[in-house]
């Protein structure tokens, strides 16, 4: 099967510390897959196993049908990775950085040079190709690393937190780039930025303490969460229509997550009540907290139903 398949992947250290627990999923060989989770959730461990840097303790994984554990050499022909803390070598120019990586992949010098220039140009950083790494801005450095793997022949790209530390403008540039690429590549990324995953990913995995809590498109995750809509009432006094529902209080208002049907029923009531409110599809942030059982807001319990 083309794409990535993981079956029961686990990783333990010292036979007792679980980094990953029985993780299973699959996705096709095009598009963007984002893994989200807290620090230490297991995102990087999973990526390193898939990228043949780390052996799993149990389970199997394949990339385009090739076993990651048993045939790492063949898998490495198909993949490329930018690790979480990868840095542009300060004594190399972007052209030298990309060229060297392509040589490591076994390209001839001249082809590597041509590809390096083309890739830097495609990412809009061709004008910096002869500037030493230590003189580049953070955003440009990150783009150089992305250009490095994209210049190769690999069509399955692992990016571990590709936009961490970037300013909003640079981050948006990387996002635009990834969106352009996703029709031709499988891009497997990890991120702490939920809006990044929501904006870019065709499939999102939520990982916590080594467990894959849920995986799917944002709509599929909403369905799995059981709440598709968020009603946010922007007034201190809780409207009558919401009394009896378990809502979350925030600065200046109340929030209720609920099913599609109930959301429309309640919005009718709120309109009649002349309450100030907004109704939106549940965000990835809401879903993430739902699955990770984390809430930054204090809860006010006032009734039953299927809300949280």
């Amino acid at each position: 099967m083309r794409g990535v398949v993981c079956k029961g992947i686990s990783k333990t250290y010292d036979r007792k510390t679980y980094a990953l627990r029985n993780m299973s999923f699959s996705f096709p060989d095009r598009g963007i897959v984002a893994m989200i989770g807290r620090n230490g959730a297991g995102k990087t461990t999973l990526m390193r196993i898939m990228a043949t840097e780390l052996m799993p303790s149990k389970g199997s994984a394949t990339i385009n049908g090739i076993d990651v554990v048993k045939e790492p050499g063949r898998v490495r022909e198909l993949i490329a990775i930018v690790p979480q803390e990868a840095r542009v070598m300060p004594w190399l120019t972007p052209r030298q950085t990309v060229l060297s990586y392509l040589l490591y992949r076994g390209f001839g010098y001249h082809e590597a040079l041509t590809r390096a220039r083309r890739s830097l140009g495609k990412l809009g950083i061709g004008k910096f190709e002869n500037v030493l790494g230590h003189k580049l801005s953070g955003g440009t450095k990150r783009k150089v690393l992305v250009a490095t793997v994209l210049a190769s022949e690999a069509k399955i790209i692992f990016l571990d937190e590709p936009t961490t530390g970037l300013d909003p403008i640079s981050r948006a540039e990387v996002w635009r780039l990834l969106q352009r690429l996703k029709s031709n590549y499988l891009i497997f990324l990890t991120t702490h930025y939920l809006e990044e995953a929501e904006l870019l990913a065709d499939s999102i995995g939520i990982i916590d303490r080594g467990k894959l809590l849920a995986m799917g498109s944002i709509d599929e995750l909403r369905k799995k969460a059981g709440q598709q809509y968020s009603i946010r009432v922007t007034q201190e006094v809780k409207p009558r229509s919401l009394r009896g529902y378990k809502t979350t209080k925030f600065e200046g208002g109340h929030q209720l997550m609920t099913s599609e049907k109930k959301a429309f029923e309640l919005s009718d009531k709120l309109i009649r009540e002349k309450a100030r409110f907004t109704i939106n599809p549940v965000s990835l942030e809401d879903i993430f907290y739902r699955f990770a059982k984390k809430s930054i807001e204090s809860e006010e319990t006032s009734g039953g139903g299927d809300e949280w």
Partner: protein, 249 residues
């Protein structure tokens, strides 16, 4: 379709990253590598009033190869832990053997200017015969292999630059401070001579000093020197093959 990949390109990548581009973009690196081995050599020659000139030059040649291995350990640790280059290479079609060989070559290229200068000095002041030259080159080659293999193994176990510095310090003591490379072992007081034999560099130095006629040792002792030197080299290669961490367990 499977792409045809060039091992030569993969070796060249390491040479470019770790030596040619470093020297080209940071010329101070080139000047440093050129000057470093001469500091001790000059002191030895001055203190001995020229008496240790010949043994000092061959000592500097051996030391240059050993220093390459120590340097490789620090370079590999830096590229692995700080730059994450090794992680990118592990996930690429380059094998660990090609990576280490390329990095070893890069250290040779880095050392090439100073080796060239030392070779000229050797030709002028030692006048080695062809056989003597071959012995010196063979000893340098073996010393180079065991030092880069040792450097690679240690670098795979480091997780940050502090550990790397620790290993560099230990390697420097064992491989360059303890052994009598710039002078004969007889200069070391008797109770401490045994310590010098902990270091494989001592055996390399004895072989070369014997080859150029600076010291006289028995055939048996010479054979022991070769066996130890080659044995250490093979043992380290085996350890590297079995224990070095390329793909982490």
């Amino acid at each position: 379709m499977v792409m045809k990949r060039s091992v030569g390109s993969q070796l060249l990548a390491s040479v470019l990253v770790n030596s040619i581009y470093a020297m080209k973009n940071y010329p101070v690196m080139f000047i440093n590598t050129l000057l470093a081995p001469f500091s001790i050599l000059i002191v030895i020659i001055l203190v001995s009033h020229g008496g240790l000139l010949q043994v000092g030059i061959e000592g500097a040649l051996i030391m240059t190869t050993i220093t390459a291995g120590i340097g490789l350990q620090a370079d590999l640790s830096h590229l692995k832990n700080d730059m994450k280059l090794q992680d990118m290479v592990v996930s690429s079609p380059t094998t660990s053997l090609t990576y280490v060989a390329g990095m070893g070559l890069s250290e040779l290229v880095f050392s090439a200017p100073v080796m060239a200068v030392l070779a000229v000095l050797a030709a002028i002041f030692i006048h080695p015969t062809l056989v003597q030259s071959l012995i010196i080159v063979a000893v340098m080659g073996i010393s180079f292999i065991f030092s880069i293999v040792l450097g690679f193994v240690l670098s795979t176990f480091t997780s940050d630059v502090l550990q790397s510095w620790g290993f560099t310090g230990i390697l420097s003591v064992v491989l360059t401070t303890l052994p009598p490379v710039y002078y004969p072992i007889s200069y070391i007081p008797q109770p401490f001579q045994i310590l010098a034999y902990i270091s494989p560099t001592t055996y390399a130095a004895e072989i070369v000093q014997s080859a150029i006629g600076f010291i006289s040792i028995s055939t048996f002792n010479l054979a022991v020197d070769w066996v130890v030197l080659v044995g250490v080299c093979i043992a380290l290669v085996v350890i590297a093959y079995k224990k070095a961490l390329w793909r982490e367990p």
